[in-house]
Symmetry: C2
Subunit: 664 residues, 2 copies
C-alpha cells in the first residue's frame, strides 16, 4: 500500500487553490519557500529522527539531543545557513534544547541590556558558540514577581567585583533551560546592592562552568531540576537549579546599558530609556503568539486527517461506516480550532508589524503607544497560549483512544506546549495587566487622552453603549461589520461595568483584587475582539488564488460566531444581542461547518507540514494510519521479548500458587 | 525542619470538625476506617514506593509493576484481606496493572454473561489467580461501535468448536489492558457465525498463552501497543494488540448465559433477559463516577495546599508576599473544583443506591427504570470524567511552573486519568445517548408515559416553561429551591427547544445528526441538574459534626452558582433568569469564596489522603515544599554525573570550534 494516497478523495473535494493558501499561511512566497526547503532538509536526515523519543530514558534522550544539536550546528556551518535559516532549522528539528535559550534568551538579553563594549565581547563568543549561555531569572520561591527575587549582587569596591549570592534555599535559581547541565555562562538576575543600598533587580553575566573541563566553578552548586511532564517532550532540556555561595565576578559583567555601577560603587542611570526593555517583551510575545498558531495547527492537522480516515457507526447494508469528520459533534469541536489556528496566524503576523512600529517609535523616543502595545501583547500571549494548550488536548480527544498513544504525536505536543501558559508571564497575571490597562483607558476617556491602537474603539464608547445588534437573519452574521460591532460593544460594556463596580470601592487596589475574576473576563473579551478584528482586516487585503479568500472568510466567520456562541452569556447579559440573534448565529455556524467540511483536508494541507515535523501516525499525509500503527506497536521495548522480564520472578509463582515462598 | 507542620496556621482557621467531614467524604465510619487503615498499610511499605516512576524506562517500570502486583497479592493472602480490603489495597498501590482488568473486567464479564457452570469453572481459577484474564473488545479500527467489530467466531459443527479469526488488519484487538504481555486468557468479543448466518457480537473465553511457559498459543500474535501519554502513568499497563489466525476453542467457551449455540449449531436465546447487561453497565459507570471524585479531589488537594504555601506579590515593607490562595482569581478557579469534587462524591454515592435499586428490579424482571438509569449513568460518566480531566490540568496550572515537574504528581495524575473520557463510552457519544433519551421522554409526555427518576421534573414541563426566577437579592441564590428550579427550567427548556427543532426535519435521524451539537448542550444541562439536585438532597439528610453541614452548604452553592455563571448564556437565552439575577449570582459566588477560604486546607485534609497516595511534593501534608523539591531534583539520573554523557563527544568540539572534524 506504500505510496498510495488514502486521502486523495478528500483532497479532490477542495474548492480552493491549496498552493496559494500555503503562501498565505506562511505570510509570503519567500517565507514559504524557506520553510519548505528547510523542513524537507531536516525531514530527510536520519540524525534528526524523533519517533523514538518516548521510549528513551532520560540520559539516553538527553545525550541524543546533544548529538542533534551538534549535528545541526555542523550542518548550519557546512551549508552556510544565515541566521533566519539556522533558526528555521532548529524549529524543524523540533526538540527543546539548551541552544533555544542560548539563541532565544541569552543573546537577546545581552543585545538589549549590554553596553556596546559588552555586546562586542560577549556576543562574538556567543555567536560562534564558544560559550553557551542561559537566562537565570526565576527562583525556587519566585516566579511571576521578578521584584521578589532574592539572589543578591553586592558590590565590593575593594576588589571592583560583585559578589553573587543565594542567601536562602528559595533564592536558588530554578527552571532556567540549559542551566542544569550545559551552560557555561548565564545572565543572572539579582538584587543589586551597593554600599548597603538596594537598587532593584539587574542582570549580570556570570560564568558557571570551566571552559576546560565543564566543571562548575567554585561556589556554584548546579544541577538538573528533574523530570517534567510527558514522554520526551521537555525532558530533552536541562532546566536547572543553581545556588551561589559568594561568587565573585568583575564589575564590568553587570549589564550596564540602562543603569550602571561606577568604580566607586555609585549607582547611575544611563541616558538610555528604560522603556527599551518593553520593546524586547513585545518581540518575545509576538514570537509566542506565532508559536501558538504553529502548535495548534499541528494538532488540528493531525485530528482533521485522522477524522477523515477514522470511521465509526452509520454503516448501511454492510458498507463503510461514516467518517467521523462528518459528524456535527466532531465538526463543532474541530472546525473552531482550525479557524483559531488561522486566526492566531494572522494576529501573529500583525504583531510582527506592531513590533516594528514600536521599535521605530522607540528609536525616536516616542513612548506613547508602549502601554497599549504592552497590554495588547500580554493579552494575546495569554489568549492564544491558553486556547492552544486546551486545543491540543481537545484534538487528542477527537482522535479517540488512539490519540492516547505516543505515536499519535499529540501527548508530546501537549506536554511540550503547556508551559507556554506559564512562562513569560502567567496567563492570569497577564490578563490582569490587560484589565488594568483597560480600566485606566476608560478612566482617561474624559480627560482627552485618546485611546490608541487596539483600544481605539473605546473612543466610540457612547455609541457602543447604545448599540443593539440589528441582525434579523442568520446570514446577517456573515457581515464583518455586524460581527465586529457586536464584539466591540460586548468588550466595551464589560470593561465599563468593571470600571463602574471598581468605583464603588474606596480603596481601588482592594476593589481590583475583589473583582479580579470579572476583570479577567473583560480582558478576555477585549483580546478576542483584537483577534477577530485582525482576521477581518486581513480579509480586506487582496488575497490571490482561486477560492482562497472565500475559505478564509468562512473560517473568520466560524472563529467569531463560535466565540459568540461560547460566550453567549456575555453578549446577552450586556444586551448586545438578544436570544433570537444568538440562536441565528448558532444556526449560521452549523451551515458554515458544512461549508468547511469538503475543504478540511486541504485547509490543513496548507500548513505544509512534513510527516517528520508532525511526528504523528494518525496525522500522516497519506492517511495510511492503521498498518503503520500496527507496525509501530512492535517497536516498543516491551516487545523485545515474548515473555517480559519479571514474569518468572514475580508472576509465575503467583500463577503456580507458590507465592508464599517467593522472594519479592 | 522535619516534623514541623508548615500549614498548622491554616488548619487552625477551620470552622468545622475535620474528623466528621472525613466520615462524610467516605460515606460511613466503617468505610473511612477501612480506607484509612489500608492506605497507611500501603504507604508504610517501601515496596509500594512510586516516586521513582517518572525516570524508569518502560521495561524497568513494567518489571517493577509486576513485582508490586505479586507482592500485593502475597500481602492480601498473608493478611487474609477480604475482597473489599484487597480492592482498596490495589487502589492505594495506585499503579495501573493487568490485575485491574482481571478483577475489574474479566471476572465481572464471566459473572454477568457466563452460565452457572462456566462461572464455577472459570471464576474459581480466576479468584486464585491461576489464570490471568483480560477483556478484549475494541479493535484497531473499531472503538465505540461494538456492533462494527470484525473479529469472527465461526461455529464448526464437525469439531464442536468455534474458530476465532481476525479477517483484516483493522480487526486486530487493540487497547485491552493486560493483553499485551500478561493475560493467559481473554474474554474476546467477536461476531458469531453459525451455518453461514451472523448473530451479532458475543463474548468468548479464549486462552492466549500457555500456562507452562507463557508463550502465545498457536495462531495467536500478541504484543504491547507501545508507549502511552505521560511519565509512568499507564505505561505500567500492557495494553495489547492481538491477531487470531483461525484459533479453535471448545463450544462451551462461548459465554452462554443470555444466548447460546447448541451442539447442532443452532443459535438460541436463553430465558435470561438481555437487559441484565445494562445492570453491569450501571455498576461500571457508578465506579467511574466515584473514581472521578477521587482523582479530582487529589488534584484539588495538591493545588489547595500548594496555593497556601506559595506566595507571590503583595509584599508590604519587605514582609512576606501574599499567599496565592488569597487571590480571587485563584479562588475563582480552584474553589469550584473543590466544590465539584464534593459534588461528584455525593452523586457517586447516590449512583451506588441506583445500582442496588436497578439490580433489585431486574431480579423481579422490572425493566421500567432501566432506560432512565442507563441514560443517567451515561451522562454522569461523561460529565464527571470531562470535568475531572480538565480540572486536574487546571490544578496543575494553578501550581504555576512547579506543577510541570513530575514531582508535583499532577502530570502523572492527568495522564493516568484522561483515558476515562474515552473508555467505557466516549463522552460525546454518551451525551448523545442522554439527549436521545431526553427527546424521547419529551415525545412521550402527552402519551401518559410518566417520566421517572432523574427525568421526573419533566412532568412539570408546563410550569417550567412559565418559570422566571424571582431572585431579588444575592442571598436569594442561597436557597436550594431557587437554584434547583432555575436548573430544572434551563434543562427542560433546552431539551424542549431541541425537540421542537427536531420536529422540523422530515427525517428524524437526519435532524438528530444536524442538531447534535445543541443536543449535547441540552444533555449537559440535564446532567448538571442531576448533580446539583443530588448535592441538595444530600444536605437534606442529618449530617453530624460541628460546622460540617454549613461547609457543605457553601460548597453546594458554589457548585451551582459557578455553573450558573459559566453557562449564563443558557440561563439567559432560555429566559430562566435575567442579567441582573445573573450578576447577583456572581456577586454571591464571590462572597462564598471568601467563606471557603479559611476552611480550604481543612476541606482537602478531609479527603484523608496519605502523602504516599497523593504522590506530590507540592501537596505534602506538612507544606514543607521547597526543601523537598530541592532534595528531589538531585535524584534525577542526569545528576548522576556532573558532566553529562555526550558532552565530550558532541558539545566539547562545538565549544572548541572543532566540529568540522567531529564524528557525530
Amino acid at each position: 500500500m506504500e505510496g498510495v494516497d488514502h486521502l486523495a478523495f478528500e483532497r479532490k473535494k477542495a474548492q480552493f487553490d491549496v498552493d496559494h493558501m500555503k503562501i498565505v499561511w506562511c505570510g509570503s512566497r519567500e517565507e514559504f519557500e524557506l520553510s519548505d526547503r528547510i523542513s524537507r532538509l531536516v525531514a530527510s536526515d536520519p540524525v534528526f529522527r524523533k519517533d523514538n523519543r518516548a521510549v528513551l530514558d532520560r540520559k539516553v534522550l538527553f545525550k541524543n539531543t546533544l548529538r542533534k544539536v551538534a549535528y545541526a550546528w555542523k550542518r548550519i556551518i557546512e551549508l552556510r545557513l544565515n541566521e533566519e535559516e539556522a533558526s528555521k532549522l532548529r524549529r524543524f528539528v523540533d526538540e527543546p534544547a539548551f541552544t533555544d535559550l542560548h539563541w532565544g534568551m541569552f543573546v537577546p538579553a545581552i543585545k538589549g541590556q549590554g553596553t556596546d563594549e559588552q555586546q562586542q565581547k560577549w556576543l562574538s563568543l556567543a555567536y560562534k558558540m564558544q560559550i553557551i549561555g542561559c537566562y537565570a531569572q526565576t527562583e525556587l520561591g519566585h516566579g511571576s514577581n521578578v521584584q521578589g527575587l532574592e539572589t543578591t549582587a553586592t558590590f565590593d569596591p575593594k576588589t571592583d567585583e560583585f559578589i553573587i549570592h543565594s542567601p536562602t534555599l528559595t533564592s536558588s535559581k530554578w527552571w532556567p533551560g540549559g542551566l542544569g547541565k550545559m551552560s557555561t555562562h548565564a545572565v543572572v538576575y539579582a538584587r543589586l546592592i551597593t554600599d548597603g543600598q538596594e537598587h532593584g533587580v539587574h542582570g549580570f553575566i556570570v560564568q558557571l562552568r570551566s571552559l576546560d573541563d565543564h566543571l562548575p566553578l567554585p561556589g556554584i552548586t548546579i544541577g538538573d531540576v528533574g523530570m517534567k511532564f510527558g514522554n520526551g517532550a521537555y525532558n530533552t532540556m536541562d532546566n536547572g537549579v543553581l545556588r551561589f555561595d559568594h561568587v565573585r565576578i568583575p564589575r564590568n559583567q553587570m549589564l550596564m546599558r540602562v543603569s550602571l555601577v561606577t568604580r566607586e560603587g555609585k549607582y547611575v542611570q544611563s541616558s538610555v530609556p528604560r522603556q527599551l526593555v518593553y520593546g524586547t517583551m513585545v518581540y518575545v510575545r509576538q514570537a509566542i503568539v506565532s508559536d501558538a498558531s504553529i502548535a495548534l495547527s499541528r494538532a488540528v492537522c493531525i485530528a482533521t486527517r485522522y477524522s477523515a480516515v477514522r470511521r465509526q457507526f452509520g454503516s448501511h447494508n454492510g458498507g463503510l461506516e461514516t467518517q467521523v469528520i462528518d459528524y456535527k459533534t466532531q465538526q463543532a469541536r474541530l472546525f473552531p480550532l482550525l479557524a483559531s489556528a488561522y486566526a492566531f496566524r494572522f494576529v501573529g503576523e500583525w504583531l510582527k508589524w506592531l513590533y516594528t512600529d514600536v521599535t521605530q517609535r522607540l528609536q525616536v523616543s516616542d513612548f506613547s503607544t508602549l502601554p497599549e502595545a504592552h497590554a495588547c501583547t500580554a493579552g494575546l500571549k495569554s489568549l492564544t497560549t491558553s486556547v492552544t494548550a486546551d486545543g491540543i488536548e481537545e484534538c487528542r480527544k477527537l482522535c479517540g483512544g488512539h490519540g492516547y498513544l505516543c505515536s499519535s504525536g499529540l501527548p508530546e505536543l501537549f506536554a511540550v506546549y503547556v508551559p507556554a501558559c506559564t512562562y513569560e508571564g502567567d496567563n492570569t497575571v497577564l490578563l490582569l495587566q490587560v484589565a488594568r490597562h483597560l480600566v485606566k483607558t476608560i478612566s482617561q476617556l474624559n480627560s482627552g487622552n485618546k485611546p490608541v491602537g487596539t483600544t481605539a474603539y473605546m473612543v466610540r464608547v457612547e455609541q457602543l453603549l447604545q448599540y443593539h445588534s440589528d441582525v434579523e437573519k442568520a446570514v446577517d452574521w456573515l457581515k464583518p461589520n455586524v460581527v465586529l460591532e457586536a464584539f466591540e460593544a460586548r468588550a466595551a460594556r464589560m470593561s465599563i461595568a468593571c470600571a463602574k463596580n471598581l468605583s464603588k470601592f474606596t480603596n481601588p487596589e482592594e476593589g481590583f483584587q475583589e473583582l479580579s475574576a470579572d476583570l479577567v473576563e473583560a480582558a478576555v473579551a477585549h483580546c478576542q475582539l483584537i483577534v477577530v478584528s485582525k482576521f477581518i482586516e486581513k480579509l480586506q487585503q487582496d488575497i490571490p488564488g482561486k477560492g482562497v479568500k472565500q475559505q478564509l472568510e468562512v473560517l473568520c466567520s466560524i472563529y467569531a460566531l463560535f466565540l459568540l456562541h461560547k460566550h453567549q452569556g456575555e453578549f446577552l447579559a450586556t444586551g448586545c444581542i438578544n436570544p433570537k440573534q444568538g440562536s441565528l448565529a448558532n444556526e449560521q455556524l452549523r451551515y458554515l461547518y458544512s461549508q468547511v467540511r469538503p475543504n478540511a483536508i486541504a485547509l490543513v494541507d496548507a500548513f505544509n507540514y512534513t510527516d517528520h515535523y508532525l511526528g504523528s501516525i494518525l496525522g500522516r499525509y497519506d492517511g495510511n494510519v492503521y498498518p503503520k500503527l500496527y507496525e509501530e506497536a512492535w517497536k516498543d521495548p516491551l516487545n523485545d521479548t515474548v515473555v517480559p522480564d519479571g514474569f518468572k520472578e514475580y508472576v509465575q509463582p503467583m500463577l503456580k500458587q507458590q507465592l508464599r515462598n517467593a522472594r519479592l
